[in-house]
Symmetry: C2
Subunit: 324 residues, 2 copies
């Protein structure tokens, strides 16, 4: 956020609040107090809210009806939150954004069902947008996301291939960004060609976002992320920085040990994380994220200049310049 404060954009903050209100409106008085408190916490805990921000800014830029922007933003963020609830359960994560996860306090049963409830809410919010095409895209995206997680669970550990990596981060992150900006195009009644360009823009933002997440996993201190440095590699997930390092030093004995499947050996992984942190691999990965950002900006620059477009540029830059 170098040159301007994007949240000074007229109505952005207000629209983000409306999205949050819309999400929280699904927590009803009929819910038991415990559950109500947990849902309230989940839906207002926030995080970066980058998806709703991209949706509000691009939707406003393109003149989409406000009501549909709010429903779309709430549906996407709700879907994202639902996937996080099940992810944290699966990973046994106890902290998220520095706060205890649902499964840190609750039984697996309650956590599974709460995630399911949020999926149902997300589908309901998506239906409110009033477009069958968006509804189909929405459910397809959820299929892609869950499929990606299943593939990772069944066969993704210890694999290092660029193709596999790009597929995985597409499923995990870029697919939902892509769906979001495609849906923005649809609710703005853009022409088909522009809808596809917008989808591509979202795709690039998502790819850049996830690559940066993977870089930050190596560079951020435990305090900022709430998990140990190099946590992906510790779980056998080989992300882009590790791929660059492996390509550069295929004969490093620790690389060889890793590729033999010894990623559960703490010494091997500690040594590799240190080596990656001291190598050019992180810079190379960040460069690649910047390349996706430049592709996204190229598309964005095809739309007329306005304060929302400028704010969106800032947000897209922020994706690769952030340090949390």
């Amino acid at each position: 956020m170098s040159t301007m404060n994007v949240y000074a954009i007229p109505l952005l903050q207000e629209n983000l609040s409306l999205i949050e209100d819309r999400m929280r409106s699904r927590v009803s008085p009929q819910h038991l107090p415990d559950l109500r408190a947990a849902l309230d916490h989940l839906l207002s805990a926030g995080g970066k809210r980058i998806r709703p921000t991209v949706i509000v800014l691009s939707g406003t830029m393109l003149g989409a009806p406000r009501e549909k922007i709010i429903s779309l933003g709430a549906a996407v963020e709700m879907l994202h939150t639902a996937t996080l609830v099940h992810d944290d359960l699966i990973d046994g994560a106890l902290l998220r954004r520095g706060m205890p996860t649902l499964n840190a306090r609750w039984s697996p049963a309650a956590t599974v069902l709460t995630g399911d409830y949020l999926f149902a809410c997300a589908a309901h919010l998506a239906a409110e947008i009033g477009s069958l095409e968006i509804m189909e895209a929405f459910s397809e995206t959820l299929m892609v996301i869950v499929n990606g997680e299943l593939s990772q669970l069944f066969g993704g550990r210890g694999l290092w291939s660029r193709e596999h990596y790009y597929q995985r981060i597409y499923a995990k992150t870029a697919s939902l960004f892509e769906m979001s900006t495609r849906a923005v195009g649809l609710i703005s009644s853009m022409e088909r060609r522009e809808v596809e360009l917008l989808a591509e823009m979202g795709h690039h933002i998502g790819m850049a976002f996830q690559i940066m997440d993977d870089v930050l996993d190596f560079t951020s201190e435990q305090l900022a992320l709430g998990k140990p440095v190099g946590s992906d590699l510790r779980q056998g997930l080989i992300t882009l920085p590790a791929i660059y390092y492996i390509e550069e030093y295929p004969d490093d004995p620790y690389v060889r040990a890793l590729l033999r499947g010894e990623w559960q050996d703490e010494k091997v992984v500690d040594r590799l994380i240190e080596a990656i942190r001291n190598s050019q691999a992180l810079k190379q990965a960040q460069e690649e994220a910047r390349y996706y950002v430049s592709q996204a900006l190229d598309i964005l620059h095809g739309f007329p200049m306005c304060s929302e477009r400028q704010a969106l540029e800032e947000i897209i830059h922020f994706v690769v310049e952030r340090n949390v």
Copy 2:
């Protein structure tokens, strides 16, 4: 199935096969072999397929487009299957329909994600029907189902109240039947009043179905159900037969023990199950299920006679006359 074989109805069997094919078409070659096998198993294991049967018969009776009948049947059965996968995980059930459940073989992580994948497929199938109103009803129904399970998890054990019981079985079973027949009305372009009547018919069928399930939990042998006799009460779930018994014998010392919360005491529960089995309570509960059936039939009889209507009558009778 007393007087006729409903499966002799022209096209019923064929339509049910098409529904199964449609469900299985979501299992793609990109899935890993393990997962493909598990999905295949889940989607073809069958069960009674009562929901698709009701949808096919009532849809054909009302002249709905066949393509939409298939999508609706597949969407509803997929949603039902998804909820079963998470239910079995939550209950730790190892058998369903006499076959090992997913969680009996797989990790909780894989089971959670497989359920999520089936939810996504269900939403996608529902979107294919091409009606936003159905899509909204569909996601609302999922909210009702999951909400019911959450309420049960957080506060439902050991509670005995009719109001609570009816709410619970509506959420668990009747809501999805109601949504199914409402959707049949919508794809058949019925008038609003008829759509509501159809929804009511589905509601009554669902209530009768669940009450009979609760009766069968007391009467069926372990072999037929794949779980011990009285398994609901053993888990602290007080269903209609137990409610009738409690109302009749409030001073029975075992009833008092139960209501003091001693439902985890095996002696208390064994004694009560025996007593309920030997009492009028099961007959009374079954009578109540028959009352719902008669209400459903009253509505059905408002539609012109045809072979599908006759088959639907048989199916509705079967709901309360079945012994598994």
